[in-house]
Every structure is written in structure tokens, then in C-alpha cells.
């Protein structure tokens, strides 16, 4: 399956497995940054992506927040979309079937305001699952709606309880998406592991704010919003590293990734896959650019499989001894 390049060098094995599921490569596109595929299709050959994490879906459709929803910041952006989505019924009747046409994996991201709603949405999708729907990403970390799950994401017990509940409802991949807006991500990673999650993904956006100095009004209509983009990459990387030390389940790294080099950092820190978010807004084909760049990197570095990079951080002995 792994081809040999004309220069004789073996192509690196880009495949990744998450429990039974095999992905083409480690590069997913992040929830809320790729729509439901149809919009970006024109600019991005979806089938070159490992998979698409769909926009958070809730039981009922949500109109989202009033404008302004996005503000550019230094090497990043704030958003306050407010989980605008079509609701789970349209999701299963229109979006999933549309996405089923592509040779790529689909992970349905779910947002809700109660245990029951999370379960109901998941079970409804289970009942209408399409062949390439491989799992769920549970958004307990949206900072810009009042009832967007952050009350779960900042509470270890509720995170564990929710994960246990959802675990009972599906055999597909169950991925819990964690928030960086906590003192330590470690206990959350451990709670997810205990409750049987297949993986965790992190980070969601950081709580941020911007003010119009002439009107004295917050620039985002929800006062604060979620910060994403290259600005947050160092924070995301630190949290992936801390989660890696804390738990044994796979980690999907997210936050400020724009290049193959960024991706390699996340893999070394301990993630086995990554998601591309904000970068899709700049280049709708960012995901495949990153995947392609990653393959080239592996080949240049003579690394035969992408898995060899995962969790390959080298910390010198004296630092380890000093407790770092």
C-alpha cells in the first residue's frame, strides 16, 4: 500500500488508527471551521482529508448569535458564532447523507445544554448513522453560548458522568473535546479515560475579548468570545503535552495549526491526530496542504510512519530529574 517514489525513497505510512478505525492520515478539519463539507468542497478535495468533524449540532436548530460574530486579533481571531446549526433532524436527513458520498471519515460534533440533550442527539444520530460516520466528538467547551456545555467542560465530575452516559449509547468512537479554560487539563483527561472515552481532543478556543474604544462597546455581541488561530498554538501544545502525561488514551491536537511543521510539534507532544481550524478560513484546502506537507516532511526526515513521531518528545535527563 505504501508507494515507492521515483527517487527510490519509500513513501511514509501516513495512516492512523483510533480503536478499530483507520484514517488515511492524521489531519482532520475542526468543528465549526468547515461547515458540513458542501461549502468548502469547491476549494478543497475533501477525500484527501482524514476526516471532517462537523459543526456542533444540537437537538433543535440554533440561529446563532447576532453580529458581530468575528473579530480579528493579533495572529488570531475571536468568534462568537453561538453554535449556529441546523439541528439534529436536518443534520441526519440532509447533512449526513450528503457527507456519505465522500471517501472520508465523518465525526459528528455534538453540543448541548443538558446530559439528556447530549444523549438524545447522539442516539438520534446513531439511529440514522451513515457508513462513513465513525464517531462523535462531544463539545463540552464552547465558550460563547450561555448553555454551551462549558459547565460540563470545567467540572471534572460532570465530564466523567457525561462521558459514561454517552459511552453506553454508542460503539462508535467517542471523543471528548476539552476546554483550555481550566487550571489544569490533567484531571479532565483522566476523567474521560476512566469513563471509557476513546480519545480526547483539545483545545477548544480560549475566552477572549475585544473592545471598541470609540463606542466603549464590546466588539463581539456576547462581550467575550473564543480565541483561535496561531496566537494560541503555544498554549494548545502545552495542554496536549500535559494531557499526554496525565492519561493513556489517544489525543487529537487542535489549536493554531497552519502548517505541517505545526502538526509535527503536536504529534511529538503526544497527539496522534490533529485538527485544522481557523486556517481553513484563510485557505479552505489548508487541511490537505498540511497533510501533503507532513508526508514530505516524513520522507525528507526518513521517518517511515507518521506514528513514529507520536509522543516522541525528548526531555533531557537532568530536566526530568528536576521534575519538568
Amino acid at each position: 500500500m505504501n508507494g515507492v517514489e521515483s527517487n527510490g525513497q519509500a513513501k511514509a505510512d501516513m495512516r492512523v488508527r483510533l480503536r478499530g478505525v483507520e484514517f488515511k492520515n492524521p489531519v482532520l478539519v475542526a468543528s465549526g471551521t468547515f461547515g458540513y463539507g458542501a461549502e468548502a468542497k469547491k476549494y478543497c478535495d475533501i477525500e484527501q482529508l482524514a476526516g471532517i468533524v462537523t459543526k456542533s449540532v444540537s437537538w433543535k436548530p440554533r440561529p446563532g448569535n447576532p453580529p458581530h460574530r468575528i473579530i480579528e486579533t493579533a495572529s488570531g481571531m475571536l468568534n462568537s458564532i453561538g453554535l449556529a446549526n441546523v439541528g439534529v433532524h436536518t443534520f441526519v436527513s440532509e447533512k449526513l447523507p450528503y457527507l456519505a458520498k465522500f471517501d472520508t471519515k465523518i465525526i459528528a460534533n455534538i453540543a448541548a445544554s443538558s446530559m439528556e440533550e447530549y444523549r438524545d442527539v447522539l442516539e438520534h444520530i446513531e439511529q440514522h448513522a451513515t457508513p462513513n460516520l465513525v464517531g462523535y466528538e462531544i463539545n463540552i467547551s464552547c465558550p460563547n453560548v450561555k448553555d454551551g456545555g462549558l459547565s460540563f467542560g470545567t467540572n471534572v465530575e460532570r465530564t466523567e458522568e457525561l462521558t459514561t452516559l454517552l459511552r453506553a449509547s454508542t460503539d462508535r468512537l467517542l471523543i471528548i473535546k476539552l476546554t483550555p479554560n481550566v487550571t489544569s487539563v490533567a484531571p479532565f483527561a483522566q476523567a474521560c479515560e476512566r469513563a471509557g472515552a476513546d480519545a480526547i481532543s483539545l483545545i477548544n478556543t480560549l475566552v477572549g475579548m475585544s473592545i471598541d474604544i470609540y463606542t466603549h462597546e464590546p466588539r463581539l455581541n456576547t462581550v467575550t468570545g473564543g480565541l483561535s488561530g496561531p496566537a494560541i498554538k503555544p498554549i494548545a501544545l502545552a495542554q496536549v503535552y500535559q494531557a499526554r502525561k496525565a492519561c493513556g488514551i489517544p489525543i487529537i491536537g487542535i489549536g493554531g495549526i497552519v502548517s505541517a511543521e505545526d502538526t509535527v510539534e503536536f504529534l511529538i507532544a503526544g497527539a496522534c491526530m490533529v485538527q485544522i481550524g481557523t486556517a481553513n478560513f484563510v485557505h479552505p484546502d489548508a487541511g490537505i496542504r498540511v497533510a501533503r506537507g507532513l508526508a514530505e516532511f516524513l520522507q525528507k526526515q526518513n521517518i517511515s510512519a507518521v506514528g513514529d513521531l507520536v509522543n516522541s518528545l525528548r526531555i533531557r535527563a537532568e530536566l526530568k530529574a528536576a521534575g519538568w
Binding site: T33, Y43, R69, E72, N79, P230, P284
Partner: protein
Amino acid sequence: MLAPGLVTLRFHNPKVARETIAGQFVNVLPKAGAIDPMLRRPFSVYNTDGDEAEIIIQAHGRGTNILADTAEGEMLDVLGPLGNPWNYKSGDFKTAVLVIGGVGVASMLLLTRALVKEGLPVQSYYGARTKDLLALQDLTNLHVATDDGSEGFHGSVINMLRKDLEARKIEQPKLFVCGPTGMMRAAAVLAAEYGIPCEVSLETEMACGIGICQGCPVPTDDTTFQKTGKRFRLVCMDGPSFSAETITI
């Protein structure tokens, strides 16, 4: 230079040049490879000519300042054409009335051309703060208003238009409006008053320009909301131009 503060960028892009219909826009990266500023900036396609296209940039912020400084020969990273065209084939008018404020002029050349091609008469009402800020070329049947009276009508372009509507000078008009929000709101009110169709081309912040970020909503008006169940429409996908009566500017 069209007028002080406005810079025209011409670039080779067969896709944009050949496929753009009046009213569509492109999303342009201020600096390829840079991560700050990071997001693309949307600009109306001002002109197309063979395989080349033009945009007009009013430099006033981080991204537009960089773009206005683009050197001859530099590469421009352009995504487009995006959005929907002006709805100039709606058939509900006999005279197209272009209502223009400031850099809104950038979406009017292609529209004028398209209307002329359809055989529809065009009247252009163009307002600016002062004479020097007018970018006059390419407009047909021009009526100029300046806030300071330095040229044409002394006052707002909306008041000038109101007088002409009052005097029934224009046969079955439809307004095509692009300019500052205040002007678009006033035009919408005027159109409602006279019961004439009115289309406005909106500006909102955009992250993607292609419908994947949901960052560019415009609230619908209550009737539209009740009819469609949609509280918002997206300027990049559903617009940028909207029938004024369906939205809340």
C-alpha cells in the same frame, strides 16, 4: 488613482476575470504567508478585462494598508468570485437607480455594464463628503451630491434622490445601493416610502467568505423570519446584496 485614498489593484486571474458577475466579490489575503494579519479581506470586483480583474481599495486599516502598498509584480492571493450577483434581472423595474456612497462605487462599474447589456436605463446617484473624494469614471447619467457642496447637490445623496423621486423624474425605478450603513438604511427607508424595490450590498466582517465560518450574519426582518424561520442570513453566501425589505440593516 481614482480619488485620494483609493487604490486600484489589477491582477491576473482568469477565473475571477471570466466568471465574475456584477456584485460578486473576492477575498484577498493581505500578505501571503503572514500569520498577522491573518484573515482575508473582501473586496467587490470592480472591473474585469480579459484574464485580468481589478479591485478598488480604500486603505484605512491593517490589511487594506498592506494591500494598498502592494508593489507591481507581487503575487496576490485571491479567492473568488464569491457571493451572489446583484439581482438586476428581477424584472420589476424600468430604470436602474444606482445609489452610491464612497468606495461603494467599486461594485457599480460591472453593474452598469450588465444593465446596459440588458438594455435598461441607468441613473447614478453618487454622494461623497467632498468633491475630491469622487471617483467619477465609468458612471452613467451621473448625479453628484457632496456634503460640503463643493460639487453638485449640496447635501446627502439620499435627499437628492428623494427630490427626484418626488418629482417623478424616474420611471419605475429600482434602487441598487452600496455605501456606508447609514446611507443604505436611509435608502431602504426611502424605497419603502415610495414602494419601490431596493437592493443593498452589505459589508460585514468575514473570516472565510465562503460559508464555512458563519461569521457574517445579517438579521432578517420579522416577516421574513416568520416566513422562512431564518433569524439570520449570511452576507457571504446569501448576499452580499439583499432585497432591503427582507433584512434588518
